[in-house]
């Protein structure tokens, strides 16, 4: 059995080590679709986090009651119920935001991130751990959506969260708020994340090789001395 993580790590792993967007490439549809501006990204991430956390709570607490054969259908039903709640609340409280996000709120039902976490985590772990895990994944999702939405908003309209950040002479890049901009920005961010990781890996490797060579050299010197004498 896998070693149990400490509780804080259970939460923190979602932020970067297993970031749902950059590491696992899960739930990309809403990531690309709603990140025209930072505020849309935040709203989407919060809605997703709510559904993810509530579904995780319910599913982890009744995980022993759900027969294995119909578990996927049961998960989807539970998720769809919470999505309906979110959709109705958003329509009543934040009609503008709900209009901007449009059909992508109901589409949280088929977000593979949520179903994936239920299948991979909540169905096997206690309520507390599932809560931490889903909150962590939700935060990771929020970070990714905020970064992507913020970048697209800054370059596409010259503002961030509605405040102007670019100087007046800045000509907005229209392409950033079009579908093409979403693909390009996410692709570049993905590449940047990968190159950072690969560099870190390479550094670690280099460090190990250096350590090995040094140890070998020392051993050789010792051995050499022994041989020559």
């Amino acid at each position: 059995m896998k070693k149990q993580l400490t509780l804080s790590k259970e939460y923190l792993k979602g932020l970067w080590d297993q970031n749902p967007v950059f590491k696992q490439a899960l739930g990309l549809c809403p990531v690309l679709a709603v990140t025209v501006s930072a505020i849309n990204g935040i709203a989407m991430a919060l809605a997703t986090t709510f559904v993810l956390t509530s579904a995780s709570l319910i599913i982890s607490s009744i995980r022993k009651l759900i027969p294995t054969q119909v578990r996927i259908a049961a998960y989807i039903l539970i998720i769809a119920t919470f999505v309906t709640i979110v959709d109705l609340v958003m329509k009543a409280q934040f009609p503008e935001l709900s209009k901007a996000l449009g059909p992508y709120i109901p589409l949280i039902v088929v977000n593979c991130l949520i179903l994936g976490r239920q299948e991979a985590f909540s169905s096997k772990n206690t309520v507390g751990r599932s809560l931490l895990d889903s909150l962590g994944m939700g935060t990771g999702f929020l970070i990714a959506l905020f970064v992507l939405g913020g970048l697209r908003e800054i370059f596409g309209t010259g503002t961030l969260l509605g405040f102007q950040v670019m100087p007046d002479f800045y000509e907005p890049w229209l392409v950033m708020i079009l579908p093409a901009g979403a693909f390009l920005t996410l692709g570049l961010l993905f590449g940047a994340a990968n190159s950072y990781l690969q560099k870190k890996e390479q550094d670690e490797k280099n460090y190990l090789i250096e350590k090995y060579l040094k140890a070998k050299k020392e051993a050789d010197e010792m051995g050499g001395q022994a041989k020559w004498n």
Partner: protein, 192 residues
């Protein structure tokens, strides 16, 4: 005439993948080879057409008369999941070659957001039955077109010297971005 417009609008101008970002998971996951991409596209078109028919009937004959519209997400996803299961069993029974070609892709389709997206858009746009079915076929054709073109590009890309950090998902996303730019050329062609 209107039906033709709906078809081309769903297939090309408002392509599900490149304009609405629906079905990105299979678009990136199954676009490695042209043959499998085309099969995936065909399977999706098939399910989309049936979904359009069934969800239209359920929405207009069951949910609206009983004022149960708030149940639409729950009922649509249940219908789609059981529909896919049913289609899989049916295809397996009727045609073995077809099952071998489509079989492994069918279970993946349940979580393809393009299918649920289709059902939701159909309700949102208030289509009649015939229009809905044409919309479903058009959306499926658009998905097939996008995923096949993508697979063709990726097969060529295998021979290209992509910078190491960009191998895999990142370069696929960037290619998709360029494809989306290309498809933008169609925008304004039909406004519906």
């Amino acid at each position: 005439m209107e039906l033709i417009l709906i078809f081309f609008s769903a297939a090309i101008v408002n392509n599900f993948v490149l304009a609405y970002f629906l079905g990105i998971c299979p678009f990136i996951g199954v676009s490695g080879k042209i043959t499998s991409a085309f099969s995936m596209g065909m399977a999706t078109t098939f399910v989309m057409t049936i979904t359009a028919i069934v969800t239209w009937l359920i929405y207009h004959l069951l949910l609206v008369p009983f004022q149960l519209e708030f149940l639409q997400y729950v009922s649509f996803i249940l219908v789609i999941a059981s529909l896919v299961q049913f289609v899989e069993m049916f295809v397996k029974k009727v045609s073995q070659p077809l099952y071998r070609a489509l079989g492994i892709f069918l279970p993946l389709i349940t979580t393809n957001c393009a299918i649920l997206g289709l059902a939701l858009f159909m309700v949102l746009k208030d289509y009649t039955f015939i229009q809905g079915v044409v919309y479903g076929v058009g959306a499926g054709a658009g998905f097939t077109l996008a995923i096949t073109v993508m697979a063709g590009i990726r097969e060529e890309l295998d021979l290209a010297d992509v910078p190491k950090p960009f191998k895999g998902v990142p370069i696929t996303l960037i290619v998709a971005g360029l494809l989306a730019l290309a498809f933008m050329g169609f925008s304004g062609l039909i406004s519906i």
